[in-house]
Structure formats: C-alpha cells, structure tokens
C-alpha cells in the first residue's frame, strides 16, 4: 500500500472507511444515545477526544508494551481518558452528562477505539495515529449526528430541542423512533441508502 498523505489519512475515516456505516464498529453507543441530535453531537465529541488521545498515547508507547499484555495496557489507557471525559463532562456539562448516562463509561469498550488502537496506532507513528483518530472520530460523529437528527425529528418533531415539524406533528410523533427499535430501523435504512449509492 502506498503512503497516504495527511489529508487522505484524515479523510478515510469520514467516508470510505467510516467506522459506523462501513466498518460497523461502535454500534452500542451509536444506537443507544442517538435519541436526539444533541446527544449525538455530545457523544461524538467525547469519542473524538478519547480516540485521538488514546491513539497518540498508544502510538507513543507502542515500542514499550510487550504484546502479551497489550490488550490490558491499551484498555487501561483508553479507560483513563474516558474517565477524564466523564469527570469533566459531569462538572461542566451536567445536562449532557445526564442524558448520555452509562454510555460514557462504555466508550471504553466502544470497539472503534480498541480497534483503531490495535489496528492502527500500535503500528504507526504518533502523527499519523493522531490524524487517524481525528478522522475516525469525525466520521463516527457525522454518522451518529445524522442518526440522532433523524430520530429526534421523526420521534419528537424537534431538532436540538426546537420544534421543526409543528405542533400537530409533535402531538402524534412516531415515538417508536426514539425507542430502541427505532435505532435499529434508522441505522438499517441509513446503511441501505449508503449501499444503494455505492452500488450505482
């Protein structure tokens, strides 16, 4: 494989290797917290931070960590960043922290992060790992923002809490969209749309 430029390294996560829509990683948070657009954005920001930082640190430590204890070591690094996000968010963004709930600690096991640590950061330079982290994080954020937007719009008639579809719609909104089944259905349809575009 030829060397990718910095821009390509950054861009691959957004579309061609989009972690959620193409590689199907990190499903749990993306389905669970995307009941609103704001949640999607908040979760995305948290993931970008954790993914970038852990990619950088793991890339720096990649020559030090023996491969037998690799997984525990990686996961500890990831968990520390997640806990930091958790604490900082609870202190300064309490409302968001409340609605993201138990899924902040669960970023630890978001497969995207460990997968990138394992597949990319443990083999590449610090600079490239940082770019990879940002790109993947942005791709993930875009995907869950769209997901959250659709679900909030159809399930509640609002976007970012502001009524968009009018009172009449809000009274009879498709509640199922913000219930668990709506998450599966929306993501399924979104992926189908993506496949249809690619197939052409």
């Amino acid at each position: 494989m030829s060397e990718r430029t910095a821009l390509q390294e950054l861009g691959k996560g957004v579309w061609a290797e989009n972690p959620l829509l193409v590689m199907v990683l990190g499903m749990c948070p993306s389905l669970a917290v995307t009941t609103t657009l704001a949640n999607g954005l908040g979760m995305g920001a948290a993931v970008i931070f954790v993914l970038t930082c852990s990619n950088v640190v793991i890339s720096m430590l990649r020559r030090v960590i023996p491969s037998a204890v690799r997984i525990p070591a990686f996961i500890v690094v990831i968990a520390s960043f997640v806990t930091m996000v958790d604490l900082v968010m609870e202190g300064f963004l309490p409302d968001l922290h409340r609605s993201l709930g138990v899924f902040i600690p669960l970023i630890v096991v978001n497969c995207i992060i460990l997968a990138r640590a394992e597949a990319f950061a443990s083999k590449n330079s610090v600079w490239k790992s940082a770019l990879d982290g940002i790109g993947m994080g942005v791709g993930f954020t875009l995907a869950i923002t769209v997901l959250g937007g659709i679900r909030e719009l159809l399930g509640n008639g609002t976007l970012l809490g502001m009524p968009v579809l009018g009172r009449g719609f809000q009274a009879h909104a498709a509640l199922v969209m913000i219930l668990p089944p709506g998450g599966f259905l929306t993501l399924g349809l979104l992926m189908a749309a993506m496949q249809a575009r690619k197939g052409r």
Binding site: A68, V69, P72, V76
Partner: protein, 304 residues
C-alpha cells in the same frame, strides 16, 4: 494539590495492575501449552480464507492438523501448489505437486435446452426449490436450477450466472475449495483436474428415452463420443460417458461427434493437439481395417 490522593489512587490501581500482570505472567508460564511453533508458521503460509474446504475449522485448525500429521499437506485448495510447497518447506518434507483442480458445471440444461415444468415463485434459491418441489422446477430432476446457490457460495467471486441460467466458472479465479459443490442441491458442480478441458456437461440419471423428452442438451447414451475417441479416454458408465483424465488430451473430437452437444469444451482445444488426434484416429482406423482384413478374407468397406 492532594498528593496523598494521587498516591493512593496510583498505588491502588498500580497494585491491581501488578497483580493482574503477575497472574497473567504466572498463568502464561503455568498454563503454557507447548504449541508447536510450526503451527503458526503453517497458518501464515495458508491463504487465510477460512473457507473450510479442507474439512477443518478454519486455516489455523488445518495448520494444527497438518503439523500433527493428521492431515495431508495438500488439502488447501485455495493455497494451491504454492501453499503446499511452503508447508513442505516448513515441515521439511518433500511433497509431490498435485494437479490443480477446478470446479466444472456438469449440466447443459439451461432455460432453452431444458424448460421448467412450472412457474416457480417461491424463495429464489436452489436449495429451497429443490426441497419444496421434489426434484426442482426443471424437466430433468438433475438439471441446474439456475438460482445461483453456487454463485453465493463462492468465496472467490469465481462463479457467475450465464445468460442461459447456467453458472459459468472463471477458471483463473477458481481455487477448487469445494464450497459450490457443497452448496449445489443437485450435484451439478464437481471438481475436475484443470488439465481436463472437455467435460461431460450432463449428469442425469434419466434414461435416454426420457432425456429426449425433457432436455435437448442431455446425454442420450449414443456412444458416439466413445467411438470417436482415438485415445480410449472415454467409456460408458451406466447411461453416461466418463472420462479417464489421464488419457484425455483434450483434442475435442468427441465434441464434434456429440449430437445433442452434451460434450462441452471448457477451453478451446489446441489446433495442434487436434491435428495429432485426427492423425491418430486415421491411424487407428487403418489398423482396424488391416485387422479386419486379416481376420476375414473379404475386406469390408471403410466405415467412412
């Protein structure tokens, strides 16, 4: 800054980490399974398609079996001769190269030649139609259903549906993993040596009389192919001709002799081979004539 707090936190988690690592280190020692390092090497040498064609659960399973001496080193079809050579090098054994196999379609009954008995509107899948309708939708119970179970089963994108509803194998891509053979409910797909360029594209169990009713491309047991072959590579077995691949040179004479067109050329025969075969045929005829002439005083007329 609360230095003590930091020390307590660091100490606690450090201690847990130390315990965890010690336990793992001890375990890796105590529970060490003396795994042959060659298993890893063999796994590396395999293509990693995990197709299961060898009959073992995945490539690493096969590698373990090969190293343990429980499996032959040439079972990996996708890896081909290259993998066999690499495995041989790792295990330090000489392995004779095996002829590469390839999947072939043993049916010529497409939509035109072998029409369906009824319109099937169920699940679009050969297995389903065969199970549901007892023998499938085609006139011939052994005909290809053409719904593409083999296409789906192929891990290497080597099989595609042709225009007549018969699958076409890309011989370059085919690795003879055997997935299509397993997938086909009609037994249409078989593996043959890639040197065999001519195939009996029919495997019907029907007798000639019934074949004529349902399929225009099926074998009618006329024996013309057997008669015409100058190398005695064909013999009738039941109602179908069978190749002896060690004798066949793929001259293609049988293809010309076959009236329904059951004999199918998978690769166009080499003209030079064809010339040779024609010469051989003429030679044989002459011999035959000479023998007959010797046997009976009145020489019979030439068969041509």
């Amino acid at each position: 800054m609360d230095v003590q707090g930091i020390l307590v936190a660091g100490g606690t988690l450090g201690a847990v980490g130390a315990v965890a690592a010690s336990v793992l280190a001890a375990a890796s020692r105590a529970f060490r399974v003396d795994e042959d390092p060659r298993i890893g090497q063999v796994t590396e040498a395999l293509p990693g398609a995990n197709c299961g064609g060898c009959g073992y659960p995945g490539c690493s399973g096969y590698a373990a079996a090969v190293v343990a001496g429980k499996a032959a080193p040439d079972l990996c079809a996708p890896g081909g001769a290259g993998a066999v050579r690499r495995i041989g090098a790792i295990l330090g054994i000489a392995i004779e190269e095996k002829v590469r196999m390839v999947a072939v379609v043993r049916c010529g009954g497409g939509h035109q030649a072998c029409p369906t008995r009824f319109h099937y509107a169920g699940v679009r899948n050969c297995k389903a139609v065969t199970l549901l309708t007892e023998g499938g939708s085609k006139g011939c119970p052994d005909a290809c259903e053409g719904l593409g179970d083999c296409v789906e089963a192929c891990l290497f994108d080597a099989i595609h549906m042709g225009p007549d509803g018969l699958p076409i194998v890309d011989r370059e891509r085919c690795t003879a993993c055997g997935q299509c053979v397993k997938a086909c409910p009609k037994g249409v797909m078989v593996l043959e040596p890639c040197t065999a360029r001519v195939t009996v594209a029919c495997h019907t169990r029907l007798a000639a009389r019934e074949v004529r009713k349902v399929c225009s491309a099926g074998c009618i047991s006329c024996r013309q192919c057997v008669k015409v072959c100058p190398y005695e590579a064909l013999a009738m077995k039941g109602n179908l001709p069978v190749f002896d691949h060690s004798r066949c040179v793929s001259c293609g004479l049988c293809i010309d002799a076959c009236k329904p067109g059951t004999m199918a050329a998978r690769v166009t025969p080499d003209p030079a081979v064809r010339e040779q075969a024609l010469a051989r045929q003429a030679e044989r005829k002459a011999e035959e004539a000479a023998r007959k002439a010797a046997a009976s005083p009145a020489p019979a007329g030439d068969a041509s």
